[in-house]
Structures are given as structure tokens and as C-alpha cells.
């Protein structure tokens, strides 16, 4: 690499600093504020930060509407119960859905691991498994929606209590479901490209990790929705 007139220029931080000092040197370096973080990954982190504020606003609004409501809030354990083989089990579907989604984070993490070992076949398989688990989640959510709708729950009213129950439920789970669906498509596309060997040429599998970041985020958001919506 040819340099011209670089007198007085020393590239980046040379000495290996530690702890806080390392962060300071990183941030005050030239070219990149976060060393070794590729553009796509930095951009994904920023997007997730912004998206956190979206879900933050959704959940805060939900809490505010629920707390200021004068009509009794429906009991989630009752509303989200299923009768299976004669047994009345509260929250059973949600428990399974949550389990499925959290497992999918596990398969995703394994996919990232195999991607760094450049094991194309396993990476692609695990990503497709993740996408399949995600699709299962969306399918079960569709089932839950259908059930509630058949019981008369609507965005504008429901037979169990405060109308805002249905409004917030459909809006927030719907918005989250869209995130999962988008993730399923995103993961499938990347998985196919991995399988096809598109990233072999440069030997760079960062994209798998970036897709993984998105997926873990969507999972994490679900944990909050689960806690605030179903357990409260």
C-alpha cells in the first residue's frame, strides 16, 4: 500500500491499552470508532437501538393505557388458556410459543458458531432450522389470533373487559409478529446464500452474525412482551 506524504501520521492506536483506556483509544482512533466492527454490524446495532425505542413506546403506551383504565382488565391466564384433553391449562400455548422462540435463539447461536468455522452445510441447516422455528411461532400466533377472534375479541372491543386489551394485544403482538416474519425471510435468504457458497469467495461470514443479532433482538423483545402482557 503506497503512502504519500504521511510524515507525522501514525495509523491508529499502536499501544495495546486495557480496560477503560482501551475504549478511549478505540473511540479516539481514526477511521473507525469501533475497531473490527464491520459496517453492516454497526448499522444493525444502531437499527436495533432505534427499534428498541419503537417497542419501548409500544410497551409504555400499553402500560399507561392499562393502568389508567377504569374498566377491569381481562385476566390473561383465563383468556389465554386452552382446554387440552379435558384439562384446562392456563397460558399453555404462550408457554410453548416462548419455548419455541427461545430455542430458535439457540440454533441461531450455533449457526453463527459454525459460520465462523466456515462449515457451510451446518450453518445453512441451522439457519433454516431457526427460520422454521420462527415460522412455527408465527403459525401458533395465527392460531392464537384466530381463537381470540372466534371468541369475539376485536381491536375495538372484547367480551372480557377493557376494550384496550384487544387493541394493544393485536397491535403489539402483530407488530412483533411482523418482525418475526421478516426475520424468517431474512434468515432463509442468507441461509440459501450460505449454502450456495456466496460468501466463500471472501471467506466472510459476518452476515450470519448480523442476521443473528436481529434474531436475538426479536427474541428478547418477545420476553418483554411475554412478561408484561401475559404474566402481569
Amino acid at each position: 500500500m503506497a503512502h504519500q506524504g504521511t510524515a507525522g501520521y501514525t495509523a491508529g492506536p499502536s499501544a495495546q491499552a486495557e480496560g477503560w483506556q482501551e475504549i478511549v483509544t478505540d473511540l479516539s482512533a481514526d477511521r473507525k470508532a469501533f475497531r473490527n466492527v464491520p459496517w453492516g454490524k454497526a448499522m444493525m446495532w444502531l437499527f436495533l437501538l432505534s427499534d428498541t425505542f419503537v417497542f419501548g413506546c409500544f410497551l409504555t403506551s400499553y402500560m399507561s393505557v392499562r393502568m389508567s383504565n377504569t374498566v377491569a382488565w381481562p385476566n390473561p391466564s383465563e383468556v389465554f388458556a386452552l382446554t387440552i384433553g379435558g384439562a384446562h391449562i392456563p397460558l399453555i400455548l404462550i408457554a410453548i410459543m416462548t419455548f419455541v422462540l427461545i430455542s430458535s435463539s439457540g440454533t441461531m447461536a450455533m449457526a453463527v458458531n459454525f459460520a465462523y468455522r466456515r462449515d457451510r452445510a451446518r450453518t445453512a441447516a441451522l439457519m433454516l432450522a431457526t427460520a422454521a422455528l420462527g415460522a412455527t411461532f408465527v403459525g401458533m400466533q395465527a392460531f392464537e389470533w384466530t381463537k381470540l377472534i372466534s371468541e369475539g375479541v376485536r381491536p375495538w372491543a372484547n367480551p372480557f373487559g377493557a376494550a384496550q386489551f384487544g387493541s394493544t394485544f393485536f397491535m403489539i403482538t402483530g407488530f412483533h409478529g411482523l418482525h418475526v416474519s421478516a426475520g424468517v425471510i431474512y434468515l432463509s435468504v442468507v441461509a440459501l446464500k450460505v449454502a450456495r457458497g456466496d460468501y466463500e469467495r471472501k471467506g466472510n461470514y459476518q452476515i450470519v452474525e448480523i442476521a443473528g443479532l436481529y434474531w436475538h433482538f426479536v427474541d428478547l423483545v418477545w420476553v418483554f412482551i411475554f412478561a408484561f402482557f401475559y404474566l402481569w
Partner: protein
């Protein structure tokens, strides 16, 4: 202006270490070059032209409103409903579709890659999408002028319940289009904003540390982060109101009896909307102010040939203002009623923001102190900005206090305050910035005489418009009123003052047409500018071609050795040293100094 070739540092960047960015190809046809372009400079121009075109609509609306207030009934088609529709569209277009889009989509896109020495944004394709989605948002908004019932007349704050109730203009279609358009705008902004922040953080050229960034980039950087965190609240509240309007949910709608009939709404909270809206709305003020702060810092430094006073302080002040702007939103809600302790909290935080802001003003003044001030058009606009921002900021100190705000709220005092501080002040910066960077964008200078004419009419004219409004506010004249006939407490002199304001508004408006003419004419016939007409230090003036070609830097990217403010350097060949001017051995500068003041990077 004489140009001596200055030896500058460059490096060959063929060893691209980024492979996740979109492949970047030289555009071939007219279409890929100027229409579906991924080049940040073309996108910037597309953003700017679109924003100015909608801004023109907002300007015409302001004339119509002023005609009605100054000369009631002179334009008979302006009935009360239309008046409110004009107020709403004027306010929303000015704040969101003009200022936000022009500062970030326009200046951000053009200047970020050039000022940090990059070849483009990190993801040019996403950047291109951002513009087209923004254009879609604009088209949806403009479409609301043509639907049955016309655009919404809810006021730019769109407060429910009235925004979606029968009886409010545009309740059938206008409000839906407005909300959809805002949601689309947020998507467009996010795509652009992620690009700007990532580019500044991760794609700077060699030697360009964060603390060597020109303050323009810092201002745009902090403003974009504010946008990424504040627009979500607008997105969510817009979506919820859309559901309230279309699906009859009751997020924001309490039990309401309208025209003797009980509506199906019930149990929602109008205050929730206000909180969400202002959680977006207050940072939004800074989204249009911070890029202005940054640009003004660079303009006065360049045109006064002096380094900016307190660079580090300026950066920290930007960051402090950015953080604080998220904890003051309820100062817009004093009259909505709140716990007195909340009022106390929000009044306190509001006044605290004045500290970093005042610090910036002092630093600008100290930069100008004993400087070699060239009264060029950009400098005139910058000086006008400082004055206007201070006078608008002063009335803000009053409105930040609960007891003073309550009687003044919803009067023309508020109209005067926000027009000074977030209307006129940022617009003055935009004009200054256009006069400053037009030569780089087109290769030609804007006409100076027309520019000075434009400046004096705009500067004096806006004071003639908005200063008297403070008095109207003290008298108690309410805002968003179609006419004041038969209101006993309003003295006749107020009517005369209103007529005077209207005449001033029309004159100022006409001056903007002179400006548009100047741009159109100088773009083709203006004096050729050369590559660095203002003898500025920042990288965008050091490009091998003017206007910069695709990829900005030719084969070799610049290397940065110093901060952006080496003006009036003793013993230098010219009186300034560009950022990519190499440090000669034994140049007398202290290598132990902080890097932004010429010390070595370690």
C-alpha cells in the same frame, strides 16, 4: 481567487477492508446517474430540491394565512376550516418535510462523506431507497390537498380527540393521509439516518479522528442520533391514532358525546398522545437546530479566518444538549395539567439546557472576537442566525417557567417564540450554508449582489414579522384563530399591527423568489468558483474535481493531519492549512498537543 497547489496527503485505498458494503459501480446511463442514483451527492440534491419544493407550498400557505389575519375577508375562499388546514399543513411541512429533510437528507448526505474523506455512504443502495421513500411520504402528504374534505385541520400537533372527530376539517381523508405520510417519513428517515451515523462512526479516512471532525459533521451526527431515538415515538403515536381513526380502537379516545350522540370510543388517554408526541416533538426542535449549530460554527470560523473557540467544549455542548433534549418534553404540556412536582422537574431541565446552549453562543462570539471578519453572504447569514437564535432563546426562558407559560400559552407570544428559534434561525443557517456550499455543488458562485439583497430583506423582514407578535401575545391574542372580529379586548392597534406584519410577510416571501432566481441563474451563468473559493480547510474543498466526481477523491483518498480550524496560520503560504496538509518535520507545533490542535496521533 488564486489557487496555489498545496502538497496534500493521500493514500491508495484499493485494499478495501469492507466487503459488506454494497458493490459500488460507476453509473453508466443518464437514469442511473441522475435518477436511480446511489451517489450521495445526487441523492443530496434530490432531497434538497424536493424539500424546497414542499417548503414553497408551506410558504404560500403562510401568505394566505397572513392575508386573512392582516386583511380579514380579502380572500373569501379562506373560511375558518381552510385557515386551520393551512396552519396545520404549513407547520408540519416546515418542521418535518422541509427542515428535517433538508438538514439531514440534503446537507447530511452531501457533506458527511466529503467532510470525513469517504467515497460515499456505507450503504448507498439503502441511502437511495431513503430518498424515494421520502418522496412517497411527500406525495401522500400533498395528495391530501386533493381528497374530499381536504387536508387535516387538527394543527401540526394533531392532538386527539379533536383530530379524528367529526367537525374537524379533513377528518375523513386528510388525517389518514397525514398519519400514513408521517409513518412513511419515519421509515425513510431511519434508512438515511442509520447510514449517516454508521458512515461517521466507521468510514472516516486515515487520520480523521472523531475529535478532528468539522463541527458541521458533529451537529449532523448528534441530530441524526436524536432522530433515530425520537422518531419512534412519532411512529408509534401515529400508528395508534391511525388505528383509532380507522379501526375505532380507543388508545387516545375517552368517552365522548358528539352532537348529542355517544360515540363508540371510551377509556383511552388523550394525554398519552401528548406525551408520545412531545417525546418526539421536543428532540425534533434540536434535530433542526443542532445541524444549524454545527454549520454556523464552520461558517464563522471560515469567513472570519479564525479557529473556532473551544472546539472540545462545542462538541461536549452538542452532546449535552442532545441528552437533555429527551428529558424536557412535558414543558409543552403545562396547560394540560400535571403534578406540580413534574412541572418543577420539567421547568428545571428546560432551564438547564440553556447552559450548554449559551456556552455555544459565547464560543461563537469569542470566535468572532478580534477576528478578520469577511462580510460575505454566508457570514451575514451566520451573524443573523446568532442574533435570532439568542432572541428566540430568550423568550424560551420565559416559556419554560410554568407560571409564565400558562398565561402565554396558545397566544401569539408562542408563535413568535418558535418562529424565531426553530423557524427563522434554522432557515437563516440554511441560506448561509447554501451560499457557502453552492460553489462546490455546482462549480459556480451565487451572485453576491442578489445575495446581499436577499439577506437584508430576509433578516430585517423576519424581525418585522415576528417581533411584533410578542406584543400581540402579551395582549392575549390567541393563536390558530381565523379572525378576531368582535373580540372586545383586542385593541384596534393590534389590527393595524397585523396588517403591517402581513405586508412584511409578503415582502419576505417575494425576496425568496429572488433567491430561487439567483440559484437557477447562477447554476448556469454564475462566476466559475474554482475548487476552494473561500480558502476553507475542510476536506470537501480539497477534492480533485469541482463538483466532486463519482467516488469523490479520484484514485487516492485524502489523509488528515490536523483539525479543521487552522486559519490565519503564521508563516503559512496561504493563511490557512487544509486538513490534509501534511505536517512538515519540525513545524514548530507541539507534538504533545491534543490531536485536534495539531499534535500527533498516538
Amino acid at each position: 481567487m488564486a489557487q496555489t497547489a498545496i502538497p496534500t496527503g493521500t493514500y491508495d485505498d484499493t485494499d478495501h477492508d469492507e466487503d459488506l458494503g454494497d458493490g459500488h459501480h460507476e453509473p453508466r446511463s443518464f437514469i442511473t446517474k441522475y435518477i436511480w442514483s446511489q451517489d450521495h451527492k445526487v441523492i443530496a440534491i434530490q432531497y434538497s430540491i424536493t424539500a424546497m419544493a414542499v417548503g414553497l407550498i408551506a410558504l404560500v400557505l403562510s401568505w394566505l394565512m397572513r392575508m386573512q389575519i392582516g386583511f380579514p375577508g380579502s380572500l373569501p375562499f379562506i373560511d375558518p376550516e381552510r385557515y386551520l388546514q393551512f396552519v396545520t399543513m404549513h407547520g408540519m411541512i416546515m418542521v418535518v418535510y422541509l427542515l428535517t429533510a433538508l438538514f439531514l437528507g440534503g446537507f447530511g448526505n452531501y457533506l458527511i462523506p466529503l467532510m470525513i474523506g469517504a467515497r460515499d455512504m456505507v450503504f448507498p443502495y439503502v441511502n437511495m431507497l431513503s430518498y424515494w421513500v421520502y418522496l412517497l411520504a411527500v406525495l401522500v402528504l400533498v395528495a391530501s390537498f386533493f381528497v374530499p374534505g381536504g387536508p387535516t385541520g387538527a394543527g401540526w400537533t394533531l392532538y386527539p380527540p379533536q383530530a379524528i372527530l367529526p367537525g374537524t376539517a379533513g377528518r375523513d381523508w386528510g388525517i389518514i393521509l397525514m398519519l400514513v405520510s408521517l409513518i412513511i417519513f419515519v421509515v425513510a428517515f431511519t434508512m438515511g439516518g442509520l447510514n449517516y451515523v454508521t458512515t461517521i462512526l466507521q468510514a472516516r479516512t486515515r487520520g480523521m479522528t472523531m475529535m478532528r471532525l468539522p463541527l458541521t459533521v458533529w451537529g449532523i451526527f448528534v441530530a441524526t442520533i436524536l432522530g433515530l431515538l425520537a422518531f419512534p415515538a412519532l411512529f408509534v403515536s401515529g400508528l395508534m391514532m391511525l388505528l383509532d381513526r380507522v379501526l375505532l380502537t380507543s388508545f387516545f379516545m375517552p368517552t365522548i358525546t358528539s352532537l348529542g350522540e355517544r360515540l363508540s370510543y371510551g377509556g383511552g388517554s388523550p394525554l398519552l398522545f401528548q406525551h408520545l408526541f412531545w417525546f418526539f416533538g421536543h428532540p425534533e426542535v434540536y434535530i433542526v437546530a443542532l445541524p444549524g449549530f454545527g454549520i454556523v460554527s464552520d461558517l464563522i470560523s471560515t469567513h472570519a479566518r479564525k479557529n473556532i473557540f473551544g472546539y472540545r467544549m462545542m462538541v461536549w455542548a452538542l452532546l449535552a444538549i442532545g441528552v437533555l433534549s429527551f428529558v424536557v418534553w412535558a414543558h409543552h404540556m403545562y396547560v394540560s395539567g400535571m403534578n406540580p412536582y413534574f412541572g418543577f422537574f420539567f421547568a428545571t431541565t428546560t432551564l438547564i439546557i440553556a447552559v450548554p446552549t449559551a456556552l455555544k453562543v459565547y464560543n461563537w462570539v469569542l470566535t468572532l472576537w478580534q477576528a478578520d471578519i469577511h462580510f460575505t453572504v454566508p457570514m451575514l447569514f451566520s451573524l443573523a442566525f446568532i442574533l435570532t437564535f439568542v432572541s428566540g432563546g430568550m423568550s424560551g426562558l420565559f416559556l419554560g417557567n410554568v407560571v409564565v407559560d400558562v398565561p402565554l400559552s396558545d397566544t401569539y407570544f408562542v408563535v413568535a417564540h418558535f418562529h424565531m428559534v426553530m423557524g427563522v434561525a434554522p432557515v437563516l443557517v440554511i441560506f448561509g450554508a447554501i451560499y457557502h456550499w453552492f460553489p462546490k455543488v455546482t462549480g459556480r458562485m451565487l451572485n453576491d449582489a442578489l445575495g446581499k439583497f436577499h439577506f437584508w430583506v430576509t433578516f430585517l423582514g423576519t424581525y418585522a414579522i415576528f417581533f411584533p407578535m410578542h406584543y400581540l401575545g402579551f395582549v392575549g391574542i390567541p393563536r390558530r384563530y381565523h379572525d378576531f372580529e368582535g373580540i372586545a379586548f383586542i385593541p384596534d392597534s393590534a389590527r393595524e399591527l397585523n396588517a403591517f406584519i402581513t405586508v412584511a410577510a409578503l415582502v419576505v416571501g417575494a425576496a425568496q423568489l429572488v433567491f430561487l432566481f439567483n440559484m437557477a441563474w447562477s447554476g448556469f451563468r454564475g462566476r466559475p468558483a474554482g475548487s476552494n473559493p473561500w480558502n476553507a480547510t475542510t476536506l470537501e474543498w480539497q477534492t480533485p474535481e469541482t463538483p466532486p466526481g463519482h467516488g469523490n477523491w479520484g484514485p487516492r483518498q485524502p489523509v488528515v493531519y490536523r483539525w479543521a480550524y487552522d486559519y490565519s496560520v503564521p508563516d503559512a503560504e496561504q493563511d490557512f492549512l487544509p486538513q490534509n496538509y501534511p505536517r512538515p518535520a519540525g513545524d514548530g507545533l507541539n507534538p504533545e498537543a491534543p490531536p485536534e490542535q495539531g499534535g500527533l496521533l498516538r
